[in-house]
Structure formats: structure tokens, C-alpha cells
């Protein structure tokens, strides 16, 4: 078994703990997690840091990982159908353009994500809302 060890920042809570993830490279799966000596965590982790990673293996306990774009081709009430990325992107872009053209850019609101997506993705989201859509209607769940 080829094991690689990667240092990363924990995805739960604002403490910003550093951890070492041991990965079975052939199986492409986490084996376990060890605490690293980060500035805030000093070699300790909590239960979510130690044991909160097996969601990555999609164990289908609570919900299912999303693996393929889906759209409601027939509008509201029709079933979600799996499609290729090209179609999903085109569908989304056309619909947003149509709404922007009819009701103006301030009729669209987008969220950032305070969770695993990271700063770069948030930067891109607000840039998209501001520069492409043309609105400052961008926010995230800071309040919950």
C-alpha cells in the first residue's frame, strides 16, 4: 500500500487546525488523520478533526454525493435529469440572462460559501455576481 501524507487545514469550524491526512494512493482513500502542530491547535484535534472525514467516501448514510450535473428540463415540477456539463452550463447561463434582461441584475442573488469551497471560490463568486451579473446581491451564511 502506497501511503502519502498531506498536511492540510481542517474543514470544520473557525479554529483553523492543521492536520496530517494519511492517504492510500492506490485506493484513493483516506486511511486516517493525525493532528499536526499548527499555530492554533498545537498538535490537538477535536472529534470532527479526528473522525469527520469518511463523508469523502460517500457512505450514503444521510445524503448522496452529487456526481453529475442535473437540470429540470421541463421546468418546475418536472424531474431532475442528469445532463452533461455543457448543457447544464448553457441552461443556467441562458436562464440567468433571460431573468437579467427582463427584471434587471438586482433580481438575481448569489451566495458565497463559508464552508469547504475556500477563499478563491468566494472571490470568483462575488466577481461573477458583480462584474458579470451586475449586482451587489451577494452574501453568505455568516449569520447562522
Amino acid at each position: 500500500m502506497a501511503v502519502k501524507q498531506v498536511q492540510t487545514t481542517c474543514v470544520y469550524c473557525g479554529a483553523g487546525c492543521q492536520m496530517l491526512v494519511n492517504v492510500d494512493q492506490e485506493a484513493n482513500k483516506i486511511i486516517d488523520v493525525e493532528p499536526a502542530n499548527g499555530r492554533t491547535n498545537q498538535g490537538r484535534l477535536c472529534l470532527k478533526g479526528h473522525y469527520g472525514w469518511d463523508f469523502l467516501n460517500d457512505p450514503q448514510i444521510l445524503t448522496k454525493r452529487l456526481r453529475k450535473p442535473m437540470i429540470r428540463k421541463g421546468g418546475k415540477g418536472s424531474p431532475l435529469e442528469e445532463v452533461e456539463w455543457d448543457e447544464a452550463i448553457r441552461f443556467t447561463a441562458d436562464r440567468l440572462l433571460e431573468i437579467k434582461n427582463t427584471y434587471g441584475p438586482d433580481s438575481i442573488l448569489g451566495t458565497g460559501s463559508a464552508r469547504g469551497a475556500g477563499n478563491e471560490a468566494n472571490y470568483i463568486m462575488q466577481k461573477f455576481m458583480r462584474a458579470c451579473v451586475g449586482t451587489n446581491n451577494v452574501d453568505h451564511c455568516a449569520r447562522i
Partner: protein, 177 residues
């Protein structure tokens, strides 16, 4: 002298990382791979919260264990400074559970998922074994985020006692002038 794990209520935050650590240490890392409903979540310590106290409670590994004395099948033994239950021999009679003054023994489905002749799970006595099969020592001590748990050894106790005796000697000297 037997060792034991002691929780410090001044440091415990009640997060129960120790309880998960205990399960992972005894069931093995493969539980993160298998069918989520097919493993036994049987922590051998329990975090207790009263109005003003929070601390994990687990087996004290008594020197004269009441559980060992009452077991009709002789499946409780002293192994490497620990009181350990041989679950293969356990008949699930619950006598040890009743005898333990700490409430540290519970009946749990057998970790090996063995069943009885009628298909029902085989229930066995379950308690802290100080992780004697692990090189890393008690897992609860290792994973506690606030370092609220410590393994107390014979040497630790003797050192503490020696300190206390010195303090006592000084106190006595003051009393007698």
C-alpha cells in the same frame, strides 16, 4: 499495581472525542470502509454531565476487582496491569455489571458480530481494557483535545504519594514545633 485512566473534570469539555476514539481503537479503522450500519458503537467509557461536573467515567482496574470475583465463568483476568474481560468465554450473565461499583461494565453486542443459534446478537460484557493491544496506549488519552485524560501508573501514584508524605512531614513538624 494496575494502571487506570483518570479524567480531570477541570479540563473536560464534554465533547466525547474519547468515546469515538475508544470505538475506533477497538473496532479498527475498517469501520470507515464498511456498511455504516454494520459496526457496533460500543464506547467503553461514558462522558457524564451533572449540574456542575463533566467527566468521562470508566473502569478503575481495581486491585481486587469485584467483577473478577463474581464471574462464574472466570473470564475476567489480570493482564499486564489491567483487568480484562475475555469476551469469547463471556456468557452475558450480567453479574459483573451488577458487582461493579463504578457502573463501568455494560452489555453490548459482540464486536465480532457473532450471533446465537436463533440469529440474535451475542451480548457480552464490555469495559475499558486500557487498549492493551495497542502500541499507542489508551486511545482516549491520545485523542482528547484538552488533555483531560491521563494514564495513571504505579510509578505515578508512588511519586505522588512520596510528595504527599514530604508535605505531611513538614506539616507535622509545624504542629509539633
Amino acid at each position: 499495581m494496575n494502571y487506570f485512566v483518570k479524567g480531570n473534570p477541570d479540563l473536560c469539555i464534554g465533547c466525547r472525542t474519547c468515546m469515538i476514539g475508544c470505538v475506533v481503537a477497538h473496532e479498527g479503522l475498517h469501520i470507515f470502509e464498511i456498511d455504516p450500519d454494520s459496526y457496533t458503537f460500543n464506547p467503553r467509557l461514558k462522558v457524564i454531565k451533572t449540574a456542575r461536573i463533566t467527566v468521562p467515567v470508566q473502569c478503575k482496574h481495581c486491585e481486587n476487582p469485584a467483577c473478577m470475583a463474581v464471574c462464574p465463568e472466570n473470564c475476567i483476568q489480570l493482564v499486564e496491569n489491567a483487568v480484562v474481560i475475555n469476551t469469547d468465554k463471556c456468557i452475558g450473565c450480567k453479574t459483573c455489571m451488577m458487582a461493579c461499583p463504578y457502573g463501568a461494565i455494560e452489555m453490548q453486542p459482540d464486536s465480532g458480530h457473532r450471533v446465537q443459534t436463533d440469529g440474535s446478537p451475542r451480548m457480552v460484557a464490555n469495559k475499558c481494557d486500557l487498549c492493551i493491544n495497542s502500541k499507542r496506549g489508551p486511545e482516549c488519552v491520545r485523542v482528547c483535545p484538552t488533555e483531560a485524560l491521563t494514564l495513571v501508573t504505579e510509578e505515578d501514584l508512588e511519586k505522588e504519594n512520596a510528595k504527599k508524605r514530604i508535605a505531611a512531614a513538614r506539616a507535622l513538624a509545624e504542629v509539633n514545633g
